[in-house]
């Protein structure tokens, strides 16, 4: 018995070991050489632990930011970051293991649904599945699920999104790529379809964005980490000014309070960088294994890939969609508090990737005018949904942050608005 206790309490509850074992099994199934199996499993474990280290850096920086923001503006400013949600869920709520197992369950349900429904999509964007697993686990456990049922419910909901989201995007993806070979696997798809709908209404006969000339100077924004820094540095520094020297100096010790705010903003970028490096290590072995197995089981499946795969088809629309979506998120930041909702600061990672992809969608159906008005509506929409989740996150103890990626937010709202009340009836 002592041995079984040891296995359960000290091995299987350690998420990094669980996920390494998942990779180990996947590599064995593919009959890889012994050396590859061992190095692949170890790298997966390393990736998971690097990811956790990155998330604690992000949280450290956000705690500081929350303090100066509250002092400077007398209200809570929420930083939308699915990475931070993932970090806090794993480190502070102790859900790391459930998230790792739900991640696996989503893969499995994806294959089952693709095999037996007409939605033949295999969702290969690993980090998006990780964020989805995070949200179903956080809100599934808040709704009262635990153990196996938590993982199965999360896997089913996540697996449904993994086939349904590529399916609703596919008509426009076909129009963009001119083929039916690839699909879009990115959990911001509800936003893309919404934005494309607005664009279609307003953008009749408007010219394509690909005829506009953009200044070359904006090119650096396609570098993810630079674009995050581009927003976080002014945000932290200006907020520190508003908080005032007296208050902010208490937090900065011997360092000048403005310099300290600058360094903390860079620290946030460091956290994102470390976390995403961990994700990269983590997925390097799991995704090809999953792809190999899935394509054997579902022979006519289409791979659903990450959004930048579409970027080369309409690069101007990416920049235009990013800019117009950002305008929409800034408007929403000021407007939503009037309605009693939290003030959500613009999240630049999402604005770039989701805004850029929405730009391509909007351009495909409504040209320049579609991208302008559709993008503003898109920015508003992707700020409104996370704002609705803020009270739920706060009640669960998350610090100054909310989720991004509207499909994962929709999954969270599905649990909070529908599953949780139903569970309460039986409780």
């Amino acid at each position: 018995m002592a041995f079984i206790d040891f296995i359960i309490n000290s091995i299987l509850t350690q998420a990094s070991i669980t996920i390494a074992l998942i990779a180990f099994a996947g590599l064995l199934l593919q009959r890889k050489a012994f050396g590859e199996v061992m190095s692949g499993s170890f790298k997966t474990m390393l990736g998971f632990l690097v990811l956790s280290a990155g998330s604690s850096i992000i949280v450290g920086s956000l705690v500081y930011f929350g303090d100066i923001f509250a002092e400077g503006f007398g209200m809570e400013g929420i930083v939308p970051s699915i990475e931070a949600i993932n970090g806090q869920a794993m480190n502070d709520l102790g859900l790391a293991n459930q998230i790792a197992l739900t991640f696996l369950a989503i893969f499995i349900f994806n294959i089952i649904l693709a095999r037996f429904t007409k939605w033949k999509y295999i969702f290969l964007t690993g980090q998006a599945i990780l964020w989805m697993a995070t949200m179903t686990t956080v809100f599934g456990s808040a709704a009262g699920f635990s153990g196996i049922s938590l993982i199965l419910v999360g896997g089913l909901v996540g697996g449904f999104f993994a086939v349904a989201m590529p399916a609703i995007a596919q008509p426009i993806v076909r129009k963009i790529t001119g083929s039916d070979d690839i699909a879009l696997g990115h959990f911001c798809t509800i936003g893309y379809v919404f934005a494309a709908g607005v664009s279609k209404v307003v953008g009749k006969n408007s010219e394509s964005t690909e005829n506009i000339k953009f200044p070359k100077g904006l090119g650096f924004l396609s570098d993810t980490y630079l674009s995050v820094a581009f927003v976080m540095v002014p945000l932290y520094v200006i907020t520190a000014f508003f908080a005032g020297a007296e208050f902010a100096s208490e937090l900065s010790g011997d360092v000048n309070y403005v310099v300290y705010a600058f360094l903390q903003a860079v620290q946030f970028v460091v956290g994102v960088y470390v976390l995403l490096s961990g994700v990269r290590l983590l997925l390097a072995e799991i995704v090809p294994a999953f792809r190999g197995i899935a394509l054997k089981l579902v022979p006519d499946a289409k791979p659903a890939l990450d959004c930048p795969v579409l970027f080369p088809y309409a690069p101007n629309a990416v920049t235009a969609g990013f800019v117009t979506t950002t305008i929409g998120t800034v408007i929403a930041m000021f407007v939503l508090p009037w309605f009693g909702l939290a003030m959500i600061l613009p999240g630049m990672l999402t604005n770039f990737f989701a805004g850029g992809t929405a730009g391509i969608f909007m351009n495909a159906v409504g040209g320049k005018r579609g991208v302008l008005f559709g993008g503003i509506a898109h920015g508003f929409f992707i700020t409104l949904l996370p704002a609705l989740l803020v009270p739920h996150f706060n009640s669960l103890g998350f610090i100054n942050t909310t989720a991004t990626d509207v499909d994962t937010v929709a999954a969270g709202l599905f649990f909070e608005w529908l599953v949780h009340p139903i569970m309460n009836l039986f409780a």
Binding site: L124, T125, G126, Q127, A128, T177, I182, H186, K216, G219, F220, S222, D223, T224, Y225, L226, Y273, L276, V279, R280, L283, A284, V287, P288, R291, P303, L305, D306, C307, P308, V309, F311, P312, Y313, P315, V318, F352, F353
Partner: protein
């Protein structure tokens, strides 16, 4: 061994999808190479022999003075385009 690095903005999704296509092309033409993927900030400091990225990143790479071969793709996961652009580079390097 020949090192090939596939690059995108965050070094997560599309570079990884592209890497898997590059690997199947290499297998098809019988070339052994170590393929990896990364973000554009780290790529400039890498020691890869060949860097593959999207057309939209071309202006970013041109700012650096890089000694390795650079390939820019219009369609990141299109195997025929990868083959068409990669084969001449591999031939020039004597790897094929």
């Amino acid at each position: 061994m020949l090192q090939i690095l596939v690059v995108c903005g965050a070094g997560l999704g599309s570079s990884f999808a592209c890497q898997m296509s590059v690997e199947s092309v290499l297998q098809e033409i019988g070339v052994h190479a170590a393929v990896d993927h990364s973000d554009i900030s780290s790529a400039a400091g890498s020691r890869a022999d060949i860097i593959i990225s999207g057309k939209n990143f071309e202006s970013q790479f041109r700012r650096y003075d890089l000694s390795m071969d650079l390939i820019f793709l219009d369609r990141l996961v299109d195997k025929s385009e990868i083959k068409e652009k990669l084969v001449p580079v591999l031939e020039a390097k004597g790897a094929l």
